[in-house]
Symmetry: C2
Subunit: 184 residues, 2 copies
């Protein structure tokens, strides 16, 4: 893997930044990759939108910005509309199917995975704030860019007091991602 780019977009309160930080920490501290992880806030942040990017590689990252993401995770319609055109051809699009609809043209060959991440967090974990951890599990199952074991370890280290519900969210996300992958 020379360079792999991930973009996550949503609205404030969905934990987009935390999701990217935990993913970046797992990839670097545990999986020993080189990682640059960026939040850019601009006028769109003022409307409550939130975007976070990760560039991962086996060697040092020369250019820190995402150019054309391999994966785009869209947790809001605004984020979907703003960033869908940047997705790489044959890239992976993961959307929260209760919050985002496919509109307009997609780049050629994109694989779309629709996951009710917020619903899973709310109804099965009992905590809507775990949506971002559900999506980490989904990302792990679909892309294999990060390992399940690495994410489990980082979640336990980072949130010792909330590890039970976060590990459950991760597990449910993995299952949802595997199911979506199997049904393609």
């Amino acid at each position: 893997m020379s360079r792999y780019e991930i973009r996550i977009g949503g609205f404030g309160g969905q934990g987009v930044v935390t999701m990217a930080v935990v993913l970046g920490e797992t990839l670097s501290l545990i999986e020993k990759k080189f990682v640059v992880q960026t939040q850019s806030y601009g006028p769109e942040a003022r409307g409550g939108a939130s975007k976070s990017e990760i560039v991962v590689g086996d060697v040092e990252i020369d250019y820190p910005k995402v150019m054309a993401p391999d994966v785009f995770i869209a947790l809001s319609r605004a984020a979907y509309l703003a960033y869908i055109t940047g997705l790489k051809e044959n890239g992976i699009l993961i959307i929260d199917e209760d919050l985002v609809e496919i509109e307009g043209d997609l780049p050629d060959g994109v694989n779309v995975y629709k996951i009710p991440a917020t619903r899973i967090a709310e109804q099965e974990v009992g905590n809507k704030q775990a949506t971002n951890v559900v999506m980490l599990g989904v990302l792990c199952a679909i892309t294999k860019i990060v390992t399940n074991e690495g994410l489990r370890q980082r979640i336990e280290e980072r949130w010792p007091r909330f590890k039970e519900s976060n590990l459950k969210a991760l597990e449910l996300g993995l299952k949802a991602g595997e199911a979506a992958l199997a049904s393609q």
Copy 2:
């Protein structure tokens, strides 16, 4: 303010990334600035070192990486040694005086502020993990790049369950920063 650059370096567990994320959120969501906030993890992260950068501006940030920081906050000797040469001439250096000593030559005209942030967090807040919030208060007092009110609001929103000790940490950091400024 066209462009202002902040670099924070320390070791794992000091909350360097969280400090930068909270600062970035405050500057963007509350103070309406343009912000890019980056974590870069490389081989040095494997030794437990941690670095985070923020670029702030009144207009969109064209180049997302810190070139020569206006402020460098060093919370570990390793971070100090790795990044001190990059500090801008006449820039601001803030160190945790119990963890970092001034070694070697500083860039010309640098103002040095020595703050026992970890000791304040441990002894006065009663929670070593609040070191990063103490340092946010110090940064606010010394640079005025962010407002006390903005930081208070963001801390209350972000950590409703831990707001009391975090607001205390912020307050103690502000006082320590003001005292250091007055004694220059």
